[in-house]
Protein backbone atom coordinates (compact mmCIF):
# COMPACT_ATOMS: atom_id res chain seq x y z
CA UNK A 1 0.00 0.00 0.00
CA UNK A 2 2.24 2.80 1.24
CA UNK A 3 5.66 1.26 1.17
CA UNK A 4 7.28 4.69 1.07
CA UNK A 5 5.78 5.90 4.28
CA UNK A 6 6.86 2.87 6.32
CA UNK A 7 8.59 4.18 9.40
CA UNK A 8 10.03 7.21 7.66
CA UNK A 9 9.67 10.90 8.37
CA UNK A 10 7.18 11.12 5.52
CA UNK A 11 4.58 9.93 8.00
CA UNK A 12 4.81 13.11 9.96
CA UNK A 13 2.34 15.72 8.96
CA UNK A 14 0.45 13.72 6.35
CA UNK A 15 -2.42 14.08 8.77
CA UNK A 16 -3.54 10.50 8.24
CA UNK A 17 -3.81 8.53 11.47
CA UNK A 18 -2.26 5.06 11.60
CA UNK A 19 -5.33 3.71 13.40
CA UNK A 20 -8.74 5.30 13.44
CA UNK A 21 -11.72 3.87 15.31
CA UNK A 22 -15.19 5.30 14.75
CA UNK A 23 -17.90 4.05 17.06
CA UNK A 24 -16.49 0.53 17.27
CA UNK A 25 -18.81 -1.98 18.91
CA UNK A 26 -18.18 -5.63 19.62
CA UNK A 27 -20.51 -8.24 21.05
CA UNK A 28 -19.94 -11.90 21.78
CA UNK A 29 -23.46 -13.24 21.42
CA UNK A 30 -25.50 -11.37 24.01
CA UNK A 31 -22.42 -9.95 25.78
CA UNK A 32 -21.82 -6.36 24.67
CA UNK A 33 -18.08 -5.83 25.23
CA UNK A 34 -17.05 -2.74 23.25
CA UNK A 35 -19.63 0.03 23.38
CA UNK A 36 -18.55 2.62 20.88
CA UNK A 37 -14.82 3.27 20.83
CA UNK A 38 -13.59 6.41 19.09
CA UNK A 39 -9.88 7.08 18.94
CA UNK A 40 -6.98 7.98 16.69
CA UNK A 41 -3.41 6.80 16.82
CA UNK A 42 -0.89 8.89 14.91
CA UNK A 43 2.14 7.51 13.11
CA UNK A 44 5.25 7.14 15.30
CA UNK A 45 3.10 7.45 18.39
CA UNK A 46 3.28 5.20 21.47
CA UNK A 47 -0.33 4.80 22.46
CA UNK A 48 -1.02 3.24 25.86
CA UNK A 49 -4.27 1.55 26.77
CA UNK A 50 -5.08 0.94 30.43
CA UNK A 51 -8.15 -0.21 32.29
CA UNK A 52 -9.51 -2.82 34.66
CA UNK A 53 -9.66 -6.50 33.77
CA UNK A 54 -12.53 -7.34 31.47
CA UNK A 55 -12.91 -3.78 30.19
CA UNK A 56 -12.28 -4.93 26.60
CA UNK A 57 -8.67 -3.83 26.02
CA UNK A 58 -7.55 -7.16 24.51
CA UNK A 59 -10.75 -7.39 22.50
CA UNK A 60 -10.15 -3.95 20.98
CA UNK A 61 -6.55 -4.81 20.14
CA UNK A 62 -7.65 -8.05 18.46
CA UNK A 63 -10.19 -6.12 16.39
CA UNK A 64 -7.40 -3.97 14.96
CA UNK A 65 -5.84 -6.96 13.16
CA UNK A 66 -9.19 -8.61 12.56
CA UNK A 67 -8.65 -11.55 14.90
CA UNK A 68 -12.14 -10.47 16.02
CA UNK A 69 -14.81 -9.06 13.73
CA UNK A 70 -16.33 -5.80 14.92
CA UNK A 71 -20.11 -5.68 15.19
CA UNK A 72 -20.61 -2.00 14.36
CA UNK A 73 -18.63 1.12 13.50
CA UNK A 74 -15.58 1.54 11.33
CA UNK A 75 -11.95 0.69 12.00
CA UNK A 76 -9.17 1.93 9.72
CA UNK A 77 -5.48 1.06 9.71
CA UNK A 78 -3.29 3.36 7.63
CA UNK A 79 -6.36 4.59 5.81
CA UNK A 80 -7.67 1.11 4.89
CA UNK A 81 -10.82 -0.41 6.31
CA UNK A 82 -9.96 -3.45 8.45
CA UNK A 83 -11.48 -6.68 7.15
CA UNK A 84 -13.87 -5.10 4.65
CA UNK A 85 -14.02 -3.31 1.35
CA UNK A 86 -16.46 -0.48 0.91
CA UNK A 87 -18.21 0.07 -2.40
CA UNK A 88 -20.78 2.82 -2.33
CA UNK A 89 -22.56 2.28 0.96
CA UNK A 90 -22.15 -1.51 0.90
CA UNK A 91 -19.49 -3.41 2.83
CA UNK A 92 -17.94 -6.54 1.39
CA UNK A 93 -16.05 -9.00 3.58
CA UNK A 94 -12.45 -9.49 2.48
CA UNK A 95 -11.30 -12.92 1.42
CA UNK A 96 -9.00 -14.90 3.72
CA UNK A 97 -5.94 -14.03 1.63
CA UNK A 98 -6.74 -10.32 1.70
CA UNK A 99 -7.20 -10.34 5.48
CA UNK A 100 -3.87 -12.15 5.81
CA UNK A 101 -2.25 -9.50 3.60
CA UNK A 102 -3.60 -6.73 5.88
CA UNK A 103 -2.21 -8.50 8.93
CA UNK A 104 1.32 -8.65 7.51
CA UNK A 105 1.74 -4.96 8.24
CA UNK A 106 0.55 -5.27 11.84
CA UNK A 107 2.77 -7.00 14.37
CA UNK A 108 1.30 -8.45 17.54
CA UNK A 109 2.91 -9.47 20.81
CA UNK A 110 0.90 -11.60 23.20
CA UNK A 111 0.80 -11.88 26.97
CA UNK A 112 1.65 -15.58 26.74
CA UNK A 113 4.36 -15.18 24.05
CA UNK A 114 2.88 -17.88 21.75
CA UNK A 115 6.25 -18.76 20.25
CA UNK A 116 6.30 -21.84 18.04
CA UNK A 117 7.71 -24.48 20.43
CA UNK A 118 8.95 -26.81 17.67
CA UNK A 119 11.22 -24.16 16.15
CA UNK A 120 14.39 -22.56 17.46
CA UNK A 121 14.48 -18.85 18.22
CA UNK A 122 16.00 -18.17 14.80
CA UNK A 123 13.45 -20.35 13.01
CA UNK A 124 10.62 -18.62 14.86
CA UNK A 125 11.77 -15.26 13.53
CA UNK A 126 12.46 -16.56 9.98
CA UNK A 127 9.22 -18.46 9.53
CA UNK A 128 6.74 -15.77 8.52
CA UNK A 129 8.99 -13.84 6.09
CA UNK A 130 9.82 -17.07 4.24
CA UNK A 131 6.29 -18.45 4.27
CA UNK A 132 4.24 -15.29 3.85
CA UNK A 133 6.54 -12.90 2.00
CA UNK A 134 8.29 -15.65 0.02
CA UNK A 135 11.68 -14.31 1.03
CA UNK A 136 14.71 -16.50 0.41
CA UNK A 137 15.96 -18.34 3.47
CA UNK A 138 19.32 -16.62 3.32
CA UNK A 139 17.83 -13.13 3.46
CA UNK A 140 15.32 -14.11 6.15
CA UNK A 141 18.03 -15.77 8.24
CA UNK A 142 20.26 -12.75 7.96
CA UNK A 143 17.50 -10.40 9.12
CA UNK A 144 16.41 -12.80 11.89
CA UNK A 145 19.95 -12.93 13.23
CA UNK A 146 20.15 -9.13 13.17
CA UNK A 147 16.83 -8.79 15.01
CA UNK A 148 17.83 -11.33 17.66
CA UNK A 149 21.06 -9.41 18.16
CA UNK A 150 19.04 -6.26 18.52
CA UNK A 151 16.84 -7.70 21.30
CA UNK A 152 19.98 -8.98 23.02
CA UNK A 153 19.62 -12.67 22.16
CA UNK A 154 22.42 -13.09 19.66
CA UNK A 155 23.78 -16.02 21.67
CA UNK A 156 20.42 -17.83 21.91
CA UNK A 157 19.60 -18.32 18.22
CA UNK A 158 19.61 -22.11 18.34
CA UNK A 159 17.60 -22.43 21.54
CA UNK A 160 14.06 -23.77 21.60
CA UNK A 161 11.47 -21.66 23.45
CA UNK A 162 11.35 -24.22 26.28
CA UNK A 163 15.06 -23.53 26.84
CA UNK A 164 14.53 -19.77 27.26
CA UNK A 165 13.33 -17.68 30.21
CA UNK A 166 10.02 -15.83 29.96
CA UNK A 167 11.73 -12.52 29.28
CA UNK A 168 13.87 -14.07 26.57
CA UNK A 169 10.83 -15.71 24.99
CA UNK A 170 8.97 -12.42 24.88
CA UNK A 171 11.97 -10.72 23.25
CA UNK A 172 12.05 -13.47 20.59
CA UNK A 173 8.32 -12.85 20.08
CA UNK A 174 8.99 -9.15 19.52
CA UNK A 175 11.75 -10.00 17.03
CA UNK A 176 9.38 -12.41 15.28
CA UNK A 177 6.79 -9.65 14.85
CA UNK A 178 9.42 -7.16 13.67
CA UNK A 179 10.68 -9.58 11.03
CA UNK A 180 7.59 -8.81 8.96
CA UNK A 181 8.62 -5.14 8.99
CA UNK A 182 5.25 -3.97 10.29
CA UNK A 183 4.13 -0.36 10.31
CA UNK A 184 2.16 -0.88 13.51
CA UNK A 185 2.88 -3.00 16.59
CA UNK A 186 0.24 -4.18 19.03
CA UNK A 187 1.33 -5.24 22.53
CA UNK A 188 -1.19 -7.04 24.75
CA UNK A 189 0.18 -6.90 28.29
CA UNK A 190 3.60 -8.09 27.11
CA UNK A 191 5.09 -8.16 30.60
CA UNK A 192 2.27 -9.40 32.82
CA UNK A 193 3.22 -13.09 32.51
CA UNK A 194 6.79 -12.31 33.56
CA UNK A 195 8.59 -12.46 36.88
CA UNK A 196 9.23 -8.91 38.15
CA UNK A 197 12.97 -9.07 37.53
CA UNK A 198 12.40 -9.96 33.84
CA UNK A 199 9.97 -7.12 33.10
CA UNK A 200 12.75 -4.57 32.62
CA UNK A 201 14.51 -6.39 29.77
CA UNK A 202 11.31 -6.50 27.71
CA UNK A 203 10.41 -2.88 28.42
CA UNK A 204 13.93 -1.87 27.36
CA UNK A 205 13.39 -3.47 23.96
CA UNK A 206 10.04 -1.71 23.61
CA UNK A 207 11.56 1.64 24.61
CA UNK A 208 14.26 1.13 21.99
CA UNK A 209 11.56 0.41 19.40
CA UNK A 210 9.65 3.55 20.38
CA UNK A 211 12.79 5.66 19.97
CA UNK A 212 13.15 4.20 16.48
CA UNK A 213 9.78 5.68 15.60
CA UNK A 214 7.60 2.56 15.54
CA UNK A 215 3.88 3.18 15.94
CA UNK A 216 2.85 1.14 18.97
CA UNK A 217 -0.39 0.42 20.80
CA UNK A 218 0.44 -0.96 24.21
CA UNK A 219 -2.02 -2.49 26.65
CA UNK A 220 -0.15 -2.41 29.93
CA UNK A 221 -0.23 -2.24 33.68
CA UNK A 222 3.27 -0.74 33.72
CA UNK A 223 2.38 2.86 34.57
CA UNK A 224 6.06 3.78 34.74
CA UNK A 225 6.52 2.76 31.11
CA UNK A 226 3.36 4.60 30.05
CA UNK A 227 4.50 7.77 31.78
CA UNK A 228 8.05 7.67 30.38
CA UNK A 229 7.58 6.34 26.88
CA UNK A 230 3.92 6.91 26.07
CA UNK A 231 2.78 9.80 23.87
CA UNK A 232 -0.87 9.39 24.71
CA UNK A 233 -2.91 7.26 27.02
CA UNK A 234 -6.48 6.05 27.12
CA UNK A 235 -8.31 4.73 30.14
CA UNK A 236 -10.99 2.22 29.20
CA UNK A 237 -13.70 0.84 31.44
CA UNK A 238 -16.64 -1.38 30.62
CA UNK A 239 -16.16 -1.05 26.87
CA UNK A 240 -15.94 2.74 26.63
CA UNK A 241 -13.10 5.26 26.62
CA UNK A 242 -13.46 7.10 29.92
CA UNK A 243 -10.52 9.44 29.69
CA UNK A 244 -7.65 10.18 27.37
CA UNK A 245 -4.75 12.54 27.12
CA UNK A 246 -1.02 12.76 27.67
CA UNK A 247 0.10 9.97 30.03
CA UNK A 248 1.64 12.31 32.60
CA UNK A 249 -1.52 14.38 32.56
CA UNK A 250 -3.93 11.47 33.01
CA UNK A 251 -1.80 9.57 35.49
CA UNK A 252 -1.13 12.52 37.77
CA UNK A 253 -4.35 14.51 37.36
CA UNK A 254 -7.14 12.08 36.48
CA UNK A 255 -10.42 13.94 35.98
CA UNK A 256 -12.91 11.10 36.24
CA UNK A 257 -13.77 9.25 39.43
CA UNK A 258 -13.47 5.88 37.70
CA UNK A 259 -9.97 6.72 36.52
CA UNK A 260 -9.05 7.92 40.00
CA UNK A 261 -10.27 4.78 41.72
CA UNK A 262 -8.54 2.52 39.14
CA UNK A 263 -5.24 4.39 39.46
CA UNK A 264 -5.40 4.36 43.25
CA UNK A 265 -5.48 0.58 43.03
CA UNK A 266 -2.65 0.05 40.57
CA UNK A 267 -0.19 2.84 41.40
Amino acid sequence: MTALSKGTDLDKGTGRPMVKAEGVHKSFGPAHILKGIDLEVNPREVFCLIGPSGSGKSTFLRCINHLEKISAGRLYVDGGLVGYRQKGDKLYELKEKEVAAQRRDIGMVFQRFNLFPHMTALENVMEAPVLVKRETKAIARERAARLLDRVGLGDRKGHYPAQLSGGQQQRVAIARALAMEPKLMLFDEPTSALDPELVGEVLDVMRDLAEDGMTMIVVTHEMGFAREVGDSLVFMDDGVVVESGHPREVLTNPRHDRTKSFLSKVL
Binding site: N65, L67, E96, K97, A100, A101, R103, R104, I106, G107, M108, F110, R112, N114, L115, F116, P117, H118, M119, T120, E127, A128, L131, V132, Y160, P161, A162, Q163, A173, R176, A177, M180
Partner: protein
Protein backbone atom coordinates in the same frame (compact mmCIF):
# COMPACT_ATOMS: atom_id res chain seq x y z
CA UNK B 1 33.38 -18.66 51.61
CA UNK B 2 33.50 -16.89 54.98
CA UNK B 3 36.67 -16.23 56.93
CA UNK B 4 35.49 -18.09 60.06
CA UNK B 5 37.09 -21.31 58.93
CA UNK B 6 37.98 -22.48 62.43
CA UNK B 7 34.36 -23.31 63.33
CA UNK B 8 33.30 -26.15 61.10
CA UNK B 9 29.68 -27.10 61.79
CA UNK B 10 29.13 -30.75 62.69
CA UNK B 11 26.92 -31.30 59.67
CA UNK B 12 29.83 -30.55 57.31
CA UNK B 13 31.63 -33.73 58.36
CA UNK B 14 31.03 -36.66 56.01
CA UNK B 15 28.08 -38.54 57.51
CA UNK B 16 28.39 -42.17 58.49
CA UNK B 17 26.99 -44.35 55.70
CA UNK B 18 23.84 -46.23 56.65
CA UNK B 19 24.33 -50.00 56.65
CA UNK B 20 20.90 -51.54 56.92
CA UNK B 21 19.59 -54.93 55.92
CA UNK B 22 17.33 -54.31 52.88
CA UNK B 23 13.73 -55.43 52.89
CA UNK B 24 13.47 -58.94 51.46
CA UNK B 25 11.04 -59.21 48.56
CA UNK B 26 10.04 -62.86 48.96
CA UNK B 27 7.04 -62.34 46.68
CA UNK B 28 9.33 -61.57 43.74
CA UNK B 29 11.20 -64.79 44.15
CA UNK B 30 8.02 -66.82 44.34
CA UNK B 31 6.67 -65.08 41.24
CA UNK B 32 9.91 -65.69 39.33
CA UNK B 33 9.87 -69.39 40.18
CA UNK B 34 6.24 -69.74 39.09
CA UNK B 35 6.91 -67.95 35.79
CA UNK B 36 9.95 -70.10 35.01
CA UNK B 37 8.03 -73.28 35.85
CA UNK B 38 5.17 -72.31 33.55
CA UNK B 39 7.58 -71.44 30.72
CA UNK B 40 9.35 -74.80 31.09
CA UNK B 41 6.03 -76.68 31.02
CA UNK B 42 4.89 -74.80 27.91
CA UNK B 43 8.28 -75.48 26.31
CA UNK B 44 8.06 -79.19 27.02
CA UNK B 45 4.50 -79.33 25.69
CA UNK B 46 5.48 -77.63 22.45
CA UNK B 47 8.60 -79.73 21.91
CA UNK B 48 6.63 -82.93 22.41
CA UNK B 49 3.91 -81.78 20.07
CA UNK B 50 3.75 -83.21 16.59
CA UNK B 51 5.41 -80.17 15.05
CA UNK B 52 8.34 -80.42 12.71
CA UNK B 53 10.44 -77.47 13.85
CA UNK B 54 13.33 -78.32 11.54
CA UNK B 55 11.47 -77.12 8.44
CA UNK B 56 10.76 -73.64 9.86
CA UNK B 57 14.14 -72.02 9.06
CA UNK B 58 13.96 -73.24 5.46
CA UNK B 59 10.44 -71.98 4.86
CA UNK B 60 11.27 -68.67 6.57
CA UNK B 61 13.26 -67.64 3.52
CA UNK B 62 11.30 -69.52 0.87
CA UNK B 63 10.57 -67.37 -2.20
CA UNK B 64 6.80 -67.58 -1.75
CA UNK B 65 7.05 -66.46 1.89
CA UNK B 66 9.49 -63.66 1.07
CA UNK B 67 7.25 -62.23 -1.63
CA UNK B 68 4.26 -62.67 0.69
CA UNK B 69 6.01 -60.73 3.47
CA UNK B 70 6.96 -58.04 0.97
CA UNK B 71 3.34 -57.82 -0.22
CA UNK B 72 2.12 -57.50 3.38
CA UNK B 73 4.65 -54.76 3.98
CA UNK B 74 3.85 -52.64 0.94
CA UNK B 75 0.08 -52.98 1.04
CA UNK B 76 0.21 -51.97 4.73
CA UNK B 77 2.50 -49.00 4.15
CA UNK B 78 0.52 -47.72 1.16
CA UNK B 79 -2.86 -48.21 2.88
CA UNK B 80 -1.54 -46.43 5.95
CA UNK B 81 -0.26 -43.55 3.79
CA UNK B 82 -3.64 -43.26 2.10
CA UNK B 83 -5.33 -43.44 5.50
CA UNK B 84 -3.11 -40.72 6.93
CA UNK B 85 -3.56 -38.26 4.06
CA UNK B 86 -7.30 -38.83 3.84
CA UNK B 87 -7.50 -38.79 7.65
CA UNK B 88 -5.97 -35.31 7.81
CA UNK B 89 -8.43 -34.11 5.15
CA UNK B 90 -11.37 -35.65 7.03
CA UNK B 91 -10.21 -34.21 10.36
CA UNK B 92 -9.92 -30.71 8.89
CA UNK B 93 -13.33 -31.11 7.21
CA UNK B 94 -14.82 -32.30 10.46
CA UNK B 95 -13.59 -29.22 12.32
CA UNK B 96 -14.51 -26.80 9.55
CA UNK B 97 -17.20 -24.21 10.21
CA UNK B 98 -18.85 -25.19 6.93
CA UNK B 99 -21.78 -27.43 7.93
CA UNK B 100 -21.73 -29.33 4.61
CA UNK B 101 -18.11 -30.48 4.84
CA UNK B 102 -18.30 -31.30 8.55
CA UNK B 103 -21.45 -33.38 8.00
CA UNK B 104 -19.89 -35.23 5.06
CA UNK B 105 -16.89 -36.05 7.23
CA UNK B 106 -19.11 -37.15 10.11
CA UNK B 107 -21.00 -39.57 7.84
CA UNK B 108 -17.81 -40.94 6.32
CA UNK B 109 -16.38 -41.72 9.75
CA UNK B 110 -19.70 -43.10 10.93
CA UNK B 111 -19.95 -45.50 7.97
CA UNK B 112 -16.35 -46.68 7.70
CA UNK B 113 -15.90 -47.21 11.42
CA UNK B 114 -19.29 -48.82 11.75
CA UNK B 115 -18.92 -51.61 9.19
CA UNK B 116 -16.46 -54.52 9.26
CA UNK B 117 -13.40 -54.00 7.10
CA UNK B 118 -14.01 -57.45 5.58
CA UNK B 119 -17.39 -56.25 4.30
CA UNK B 120 -15.79 -53.10 2.89
CA UNK B 121 -13.16 -55.18 1.08
CA UNK B 122 -15.84 -57.37 -0.45
CA UNK B 123 -17.85 -54.30 -1.46
CA UNK B 124 -14.85 -52.94 -3.38
CA UNK B 125 -14.31 -56.38 -4.84
CA UNK B 126 -17.85 -56.37 -6.20
CA UNK B 127 -18.02 -52.70 -7.11
CA UNK B 128 -18.54 -53.66 -10.76
CA UNK B 129 -22.05 -54.76 -9.80
CA UNK B 130 -22.86 -51.13 -9.01
CA UNK B 131 -20.63 -49.34 -11.53
CA UNK B 132 -19.93 -51.76 -14.40
CA UNK B 133 -17.95 -49.10 -16.28
CA UNK B 134 -15.54 -46.54 -14.90
CA UNK B 135 -15.89 -43.31 -16.83
CA UNK B 136 -13.77 -40.37 -15.73
CA UNK B 137 -14.24 -38.45 -18.97
CA UNK B 138 -10.61 -38.68 -19.98
CA UNK B 139 -10.43 -42.34 -18.99
CA UNK B 140 -12.93 -45.09 -19.58
CA UNK B 141 -12.66 -48.80 -18.87
CA UNK B 142 -14.49 -51.84 -17.58
CA UNK B 143 -14.58 -51.66 -13.78
CA UNK B 144 -13.40 -55.26 -13.55
CA UNK B 145 -10.28 -54.27 -15.49
CA UNK B 146 -9.58 -51.30 -13.24
CA UNK B 147 -10.10 -53.00 -9.92
CA UNK B 148 -7.01 -55.18 -9.70
CA UNK B 149 -6.53 -57.13 -6.46
CA UNK B 150 -3.96 -54.52 -5.47
CA UNK B 151 -6.29 -51.55 -5.99
CA UNK B 152 -9.15 -53.34 -4.25
CA UNK B 153 -6.95 -54.11 -1.26
CA UNK B 154 -5.58 -50.58 -1.13
CA UNK B 155 -8.99 -48.92 -1.26
CA UNK B 156 -10.52 -51.37 1.22
CA UNK B 157 -7.79 -50.99 3.82
CA UNK B 158 -6.90 -47.34 3.19
CA UNK B 159 -10.39 -45.88 3.20
CA UNK B 160 -11.20 -47.81 6.37
CA UNK B 161 -8.03 -46.62 8.03
CA UNK B 162 -8.81 -43.00 7.10
CA UNK B 163 -11.85 -43.04 9.36
CA UNK B 164 -9.72 -44.04 12.35
CA UNK B 165 -6.86 -41.71 11.46
CA UNK B 166 -9.32 -38.80 11.12
CA UNK B 167 -10.23 -39.11 14.79
CA UNK B 168 -6.59 -39.44 15.85
CA UNK B 169 -5.57 -36.40 13.79
CA UNK B 170 -8.51 -34.40 15.14
CA UNK B 171 -7.44 -35.16 18.70
CA UNK B 172 -3.90 -34.09 17.79
CA UNK B 173 -4.99 -30.81 16.23
CA UNK B 174 -7.21 -30.01 19.19
CA UNK B 175 -4.30 -30.60 21.56
CA UNK B 176 -2.41 -27.63 20.08
CA UNK B 177 -2.85 -24.36 21.99
CA UNK B 178 -5.14 -21.84 20.29
CA UNK B 179 -2.54 -19.14 20.85
CA UNK B 180 -0.44 -20.83 18.17
CA UNK B 181 -3.11 -20.28 15.55
CA UNK B 182 -3.63 -16.70 16.68
CA UNK B 183 0.06 -15.91 16.55
CA UNK B 184 0.28 -17.41 13.04
CA UNK B 185 -2.72 -15.46 11.78
CA UNK B 186 -1.34 -12.28 13.33
CA UNK B 187 1.84 -12.82 11.29
CA UNK B 188 -0.22 -12.97 8.12
CA UNK B 189 -0.31 -16.73 7.58
CA UNK B 190 -3.38 -18.24 5.96
CA UNK B 191 -5.28 -21.10 7.57
CA UNK B 192 -3.57 -23.63 5.29
CA UNK B 193 -0.09 -22.32 6.08
CA UNK B 194 -0.89 -22.30 9.80
CA UNK B 195 -2.07 -25.89 9.67
CA UNK B 196 0.90 -27.14 7.68
CA UNK B 197 3.74 -25.27 9.37
CA UNK B 198 2.52 -24.66 12.92
CA UNK B 199 -0.38 -26.84 14.02
CA UNK B 200 0.30 -30.24 12.40
CA UNK B 201 3.98 -30.46 13.41
CA UNK B 202 2.93 -29.92 17.03
CA UNK B 203 -0.07 -32.23 16.71
CA UNK B 204 2.27 -35.02 15.56
CA UNK B 205 3.40 -35.55 19.14
CA UNK B 206 -0.13 -36.66 19.97
CA UNK B 207 -0.75 -38.33 16.60
CA UNK B 208 2.31 -40.60 16.35
CA UNK B 209 1.83 -43.03 19.28
CA UNK B 210 -1.74 -44.12 18.41
CA UNK B 211 -0.79 -44.17 14.72
CA UNK B 212 1.95 -46.66 15.57
CA UNK B 213 -0.75 -48.85 17.04
CA UNK B 214 -2.85 -48.36 13.93
CA UNK B 215 0.03 -49.34 11.70
CA UNK B 216 0.82 -52.50 13.61
CA UNK B 217 -2.87 -53.36 13.49
CA UNK B 218 -2.79 -52.68 9.76
CA UNK B 219 0.09 -55.13 9.25
CA UNK B 220 -2.04 -57.88 10.74
CA UNK B 221 -5.45 -56.79 9.41
CA UNK B 222 -3.94 -56.81 5.92
CA UNK B 223 -4.15 -60.62 6.08
CA UNK B 224 -7.85 -60.16 5.22
CA UNK B 225 -7.02 -59.04 1.68
CA UNK B 226 -6.54 -62.64 0.55
CA UNK B 227 -10.37 -62.53 0.24
CA UNK B 228 -9.95 -60.14 -2.71
CA UNK B 229 -7.30 -62.31 -4.38
CA UNK B 230 -4.33 -60.30 -3.16
CA UNK B 231 -1.54 -62.66 -2.09
CA UNK B 232 0.15 -61.56 1.10
CA UNK B 233 1.96 -63.38 3.91
CA UNK B 234 -0.90 -65.52 5.28
CA UNK B 235 -2.05 -66.51 1.80
CA UNK B 236 1.53 -67.43 0.88
CA UNK B 237 1.85 -69.55 4.03
CA UNK B 238 -1.43 -71.30 3.28
CA UNK B 239 -0.37 -71.95 -0.31
CA UNK B 240 2.70 -73.78 0.94
CA UNK B 241 0.91 -75.69 3.70
CA UNK B 242 -1.75 -76.95 1.29
CA UNK B 243 0.93 -78.81 -0.68
CA UNK B 244 3.52 -79.60 2.02
CA UNK B 245 1.14 -80.53 4.86
CA UNK B 246 3.27 -78.39 7.20
CA UNK B 247 0.17 -76.47 8.37
CA UNK B 248 1.11 -75.38 11.89
CA UNK B 249 4.74 -74.90 10.89
CA UNK B 250 3.67 -72.39 8.24
CA UNK B 251 1.70 -70.38 10.82
CA UNK B 252 4.87 -70.27 12.91
CA UNK B 253 6.77 -69.00 9.89
CA UNK B 254 4.16 -66.28 9.25
CA UNK B 255 4.15 -65.28 12.93
CA UNK B 256 7.91 -64.89 12.96
CA UNK B 257 7.65 -62.53 9.98
CA UNK B 258 4.84 -60.52 11.61
CA UNK B 259 6.92 -60.20 14.81
CA UNK B 260 9.92 -59.11 12.80
CA UNK B 261 7.95 -56.46 10.90
CA UNK B 262 6.26 -55.08 14.01
CA UNK B 263 9.61 -54.94 15.84
CA UNK B 264 11.18 -52.94 13.04
CA UNK B 265 8.28 -50.51 13.05
CA UNK B 266 8.35 -50.12 16.81
CA UNK B 267 11.94 -48.92 16.50
CA UNK B 268 10.94 -46.56 13.70
CA UNK B 269 8.15 -45.22 15.88
CA UNK B 270 10.59 -44.54 18.69
CA UNK B 271 12.71 -42.33 16.45
CA UNK B 272 9.63 -40.60 15.02
CA UNK B 273 8.39 -39.76 18.51
CA UNK B 274 11.81 -38.44 19.37
CA UNK B 275 11.81 -36.23 16.32
CA UNK B 276 8.47 -34.65 17.17
CA UNK B 277 9.44 -34.19 20.82
CA UNK B 278 11.83 -31.47 19.63
CA UNK B 279 11.25 -28.31 21.61
CA UNK B 280 8.72 -29.83 23.99
CA UNK B 281 11.38 -31.03 26.39
CA UNK B 282 14.56 -29.24 27.33
CA UNK B 283 16.76 -32.24 26.59
CA UNK B 284 15.90 -35.18 24.39
CA UNK B 285 16.52 -38.60 25.92
CA UNK B 286 19.42 -40.52 24.34
CA UNK B 287 18.57 -42.94 21.56
CA UNK B 288 19.10 -46.66 22.28
CA UNK B 289 22.19 -46.49 20.07
CA UNK B 290 23.63 -43.56 22.01
CA UNK B 291 22.83 -45.35 25.27
CA UNK B 292 24.61 -48.46 24.00
CA UNK B 293 27.69 -46.45 23.03
CA UNK B 294 27.74 -44.70 26.41
CA UNK B 295 27.55 -48.07 28.19
CA UNK B 296 30.34 -49.49 26.08
CA UNK B 297 32.50 -46.49 26.90
CA UNK B 298 31.68 -46.85 30.59
CA UNK B 299 32.52 -50.55 30.45
CA UNK B 300 35.84 -49.84 28.71
CA UNK B 301 36.71 -47.29 31.37
CA UNK B 302 36.10 -49.89 34.11
CA UNK B 303 38.46 -52.25 32.41
CA UNK B 304 41.21 -49.69 32.01
CA UNK B 305 40.85 -47.20 34.85
CA UNK B 306 44.01 -45.36 33.83
CA UNK B 307 42.45 -44.54 30.46
CA UNK B 308 39.82 -42.36 32.09
CA UNK B 309 42.29 -39.81 33.37
Amino acid sequence: MTDTVDKVPASALPPEQIKAIPVRHYGRWVAAVVVVAILVLIGIAFSNANINYDVIPDYLTADTILSGAWATLYISVLSMALGLVLGVVLAVMRMSSNPVTSTVSWFYIWFFRGTPVLVQLLLWYNIALVFPVLNLGFYKDEMNQVMTPFLTALLGLGLNEAAYMAEIVRAGIQSVDEGQTEASHALGMTRGQTLRRVVLPQAMRVIVPPSGNEFINMLKTSSLVYTVQFTELIKAAQDISSTSLAVVEMYFVASIWYLLLTSIFSIGQYYLERRYARGSTRNLPPTPLQRLKANVRLFASFRRPEAVR
